[in-house]
Symmetry: C2
Subunit: 383 residues, 2 copies
């Protein structure tokens, strides 16, 4: 029996958007879904009950970071990641591939795996598909990602071919090494850069493994938006309709809409939490940089259309004061709002798909959000 | 009519300890009470609903800091400090005196007031009793402190006399300048260093003003504990029994017991929040430094005798991981626990006074907390 089962509820008649349900050992997740990122076993600044209160059903955590600190053995000893961080919902762990490959000078890739140095203490480490499965099995997330190589953009065709061959081989090795297939669902990752034939080749090889879910990787790594959209529109229809599809590392409001429109069910991104710590918030009228002097005496909530606890309680003036004064409560409040904003956005998308009006909902959002072809204008530009 | 009224409920038959109630425009506060410190209009890392959930009835905020940032005019424009920070309970603002006198080289004292430079931008500022009342009136706390000079320890008798004369003169000027006596209670501050005759002189002059409350200042500034205890034991009985007595800047568990024993009703201290950010927590068995390697795999709560949300939820191992990893949630959790710990300690003290067994309660606490004459041993030393 599969630990994770995907239920397809409804399709948008005019786009590839789909409304589904992901049944996991830690609850059912309504899709399309946005997964907040909890790199070090915490969604930065948030308590788990706050994520639950916001309606987050699944979060992502990072294998690379948890392996280095506190170490997967300790997490297993404490009862696994759910018990360790006291998060009752579902968890997905990435494979550490993205982080390891981002280390640049610090790593060495062979077909066997990747040797790298810890960014914390410089110690020499080795990740192979087998080692990563050991770590992810110890962490105990509901969904675990296969160890893959995420090539940069741009990369040569030749490099992408070599890398893809390795990634597909590693996926097979992950599947063989995965020790808890009854409890944790292993997702494969489709790579292949901007080359559609490579993407097709990746899908075919992975689908042969009959995995419980598939991710589209290697996007949002610097390529132009039209490339991302083209690859997505081409790739997702190749994937089995009864399996969930996850677009990795993507999470601007626009990217969420574009991804859903092209058949994606799951997303994750550090965007809402990262920009929050810098004092930038997402609102229904675009981004708002709370440090700006214009908000010093602004009694309005961060987003007048938002019903989150922060917007129901505090003024822009107060939150700006906190951020300017370096107070932790400031970044707590902006983080809470931003995560809530994206969760509500996804809820709106789900409702729109159910009602058969996803394209209309998307257009309405873009109109209000101030998005146009040259990018997001945001509230700052609209007033 | 006084904005703040003190109701004396019960006296300890064997010590000066007293159980009372402070009725304020923002709720009734049970005394003896500990006031968490919210320097910049936030108790660091905590949301106001968390303070309410813990049972905090009154918090302290700092006039000096709020004057510099965001400025009292802005706070007034936003509806005052309660509305600005959305804290429904009572607030006490200090007078800024302590901060201004701590600036050392940056300030110049005359009978008129104190000229100083902002620690934020170096701008030249001037605090006089009249100016401080303007600021505190604008902030709108329920209790406002008179502008005083808090001399360092040790200081010469001659200096203390000059300083006290000035402080008493400033108290009279504060009372005259106070523009909202129907809404905000002005407390006077008893200074005089370790000299009991000066303390008596201070009390007599202040009592003549018939203020709604009195603070004992200039303690916990470096003097030996026996000096603090002697001054307190001498001073509080001189103060009118029907007015609340506030010991400024004091808040170790031991100091709270010793203060209550000598007739103090109100306390404030940055201790629980400050040490929390350094990873030190207060427990029923003494202080615990969560960074220590011995807690790396410790599944127990911070304090096994504590029923706070943090202790009911998280392990020492997890909190240690968060603190070591520099995660904000770590200092949120230690702060929450520490403030809760002191609030529960005061609740225990109040119950003990009601039950006529304050001295026994104190002895029991000290035995478990591991306190002896050479100071706090703490859990680290007991295991």
């Amino acid at each position: 029996m599969e630990p994770v089962r995907f239920e397809l509820i409804r399709r948008c008649p005019r786009t590839l958007a789909r409304r589904g349900r992901l049944h996991t050992p830690h609850g059912t997740v309504e899709t399309p879904v946005f997964m907040p990122v909890g790199t070090q076993a915490t969604v930065k600044t948030m308590a788990p009950w706050e994520l639950a209160e916001m309606g987050a059903g699944i979060i992502l955590s990072n294998t690379y970071h948890l392996h280095l600190r506190p170490g997967e053995d300790m997490v297993r000893e404490m009862g696994g990641l759910h018990a360790f961080m006291q998060w009752p919902g579902a968890i997905l762990t990435d494979s550490g591939g993205f982080q390891v490959f981002s280390l640049a000078d610090l790593r060495k890739i062979t077909d066997e795996g990747v040797q790298f140095r810890s960014h914390l203490d410089g110690s020499l480490r080795f990740f192979s598909p087998e080692r990563v499965m050991e770590i992810e099995n110890a962490l105990g997330a509901d969904i675990i990602m296969a160890f893959d190589e995420c090539p940069p953009y741009p990369a040569s065709r030749e490099y992408l071919e070599t890398s893809l061959r390795r990634t597909l081989d590693w996926a097979r090795r992950c599947q063989r090494a995965h020790a808890r297939p009854e409890e944790q669902a292993l997702f494969g990752i489709v790579q292949g850069g901007e080359h559609l034939d490579l993407r097709r080749q990746a899908v075919e090889a992975l689908v042969e493994l009959d995995l419980p879910g598939y991710a589209v990787g290697g996007l949002s790594v610097g390529e132009p938006k039209p490339v991302m959209h083209e690859v997505l529109a081409y790739t997702t229809p190749l994937l089995p309709a009864d399996k969930p599809r996850y677009l990795m590392g993507v999470g601007t409001p626009e990217d969420l809409f574009e991804g859903v429109e092209r058949g994606i069910d799951m997303f994750d991104c550090v965007l809402p939490t990262r920009i929050a710590r810098n004092g930038t918030v997402l609102t229904s009228r675009g981004k708002l940089v709370i440090r700006n002097a214009r908000y010093a005496r602004d009694p309005r909530p961060l987003d007048e259309a938002c019903d989150c606890r922060v917007c129901r309680t505090f003024s822009r003036a107060y939150i700006r004061h906190l951020i300017k004064a370096g107070e932790v409560l400031g970044i707590r409040l902006t983080t809470y709002h931003n995560v809530y904003f994206l969760l509500r956005l996804m809820e709106g998308i789900r409702r729109a798909i159910e009602a058969g009006r996803f394209p209309e909902y998307k257009r309405e959002f873009y109109d209000t959000y101030g998005y146009n072809e040259s990018g997001n204008i945001g509230e700052e530009g609209l007033d």
